[in-house]
Amino acid sequence: MSFRVETDMHRRRRSQNLGVAICLVLFIGLVTVLSLVKITNTGPVEGYDHAPRSSVTKEASQ
């Protein structure tokens, strides 16, 4: 026997919580997929790593 009495308020709050949880999970999934698409569609990126970069050295520009 359950000690907790199921009321209409519980049902409504469960609906709210479940809806918000599903939206959050879908949003996280969407941002992840979007990030992957953005990263894979971007060309090679040359980072600033304090080392001479071939594309900006004098030799490369000549």
């Binding site: 308020m9 409504r12 709050r13 609906s15 709210q16 479940l18 809806g19 918000v20 969407l30 997929v33 979007l34 698409v37 953005k38 569609n41």
Partner: protein, 311 residues
């Protein structure tokens, strides 16, 4: 905004009540027209980016709908058409609608900027501001031209869809905007002709009340003529073609014929047949917009097979 006192603090809303605050029926129109704007554009987005762009344009539209319900809760409680909305029926509080509207406005603009580009995000932000502040708060209760101004807000989605794909505004995007902009006033004025008590009761200055019903009939005809010119003009841009031109010619002939009949009729004739022509104009105008955008979409989808467009 007048306070609505009938919200029951112990009555927790279900998730569907929050969805209802976003006006899902209006959102479906936003999704469709934004999708057509995006598909008709000469630049193709990655399907995931396109999906995100449409989703966040729709959420932005929904957010402005929630802000509209927050501000208009007092008049929504009076009008038969709107009294079952979440706030007037006591299912949610006005504060919840305000919070949801502000939060989703910020989220949708930010995410559209990240998913597509910041130009499209700026247009979405402007659309939300235009609908929620300029239309709902400033002008809806102040001018009989409220429908014209509100129509502009509803006309932005295809333009935003186009900008999301191309990054800039062009004549095609402006014409798609103009088509919805011109379509909205006669659509709602026809509704006001046969649903008059609703707007009168809520003290919303509709053209039917402030300028009279014969003036409204003249306005419907004038806008129908402008709408026809724009709709047919759109056929000769890069997103038009033979399919679109055929649809535009047929639909606009029907609309102009009905608008002429509305203009010629007087109240006695309308009441005698329970506003048959006005009702038929209103019903057909729903189909009118859908069919025009469907034709634009068909031109875009058939173009790669040499069937769409003028080339």
């Amino acid at each position: 905004m007048a306070k609505v006192a009938n919200h029951n603090a112990e009555y927790d809303p279900v998730f569907g009540d929050y969805v209802a605050l976003l006006k899902p029926r209006v959102m479906s129109l936003v999704v469709f027209t934004a999708f057509v704007g995006l598909m008709a554009a000469p630049v193709r987005l990655h399907p995931v980016e396109a999906f995100c762009a449409i989703l966040f344009i729709a959420i932005g539209g929904g957010a402005s709908g929630s802000l509209n319900m927050w501000w208009d809760a007092d008049i929504d409680a009076i009008m038969r058409r709107t009294k079952s909305r979440p706030i007037p029926s006591g299912r949610t509080s006005p504060d919840a609608a305000l919070g949801l509207g502000v939060a989703l406005s910020g989220l949708s603009v930010l995410m559209l900027g990240l998913a597509a580009n910041w130009h499209a995000a700026a247009w979405l932000a402007f659309t939300i501001f235009f609908y929620a502040v300029i239309y709902t708060i400033w002008l809806k209760r102040a001018t009989p031209q409220n429908i014209v101004i509100g129509g502009a807000a509803g006309a932005f989605p295809p333009l935003i869809g186009w900008v999301a794909a191309t990054g800039s505004v062009s004549i095609e995007a402006v014409l798609m905007f103009a088509l919805i902009f011109m379509w909205t006033p006669p659509h709602f004025w026809a509704l006001a002709l046969f649903m008059r008590s609703d707007y009168d009761d809520a003290d919303v200055p509709m053209l039917t009340v402030t300028h009279g019903r014969p003036a409204t009939r003249r306005h419907i005809l004038a806008y129908a003529v402008l709408q026809a010119a724009l709709a047919i003009g759109l056929a000769f841009t890069s997103i038009g073609g033979l399919i679109y031109l055929t649809v535009a010619l047929i639909c606009n002939t029907i609309v102009l014929k009905d608008a002429l009949r509305i203009w010629r009729r007087d109240e006695q004739a309308s009441e005698a047949d329970n506003f048959k022509v006005e009702r038929s104009f209103f019903k057909f105008s729903l189909l009118y917009l859908f069919v025009h955008f469907l034709a634009i979409l068909a031109e875009a989808l058939l173009a790669p097979y040499g069937l769409g467009g003028w080339s």
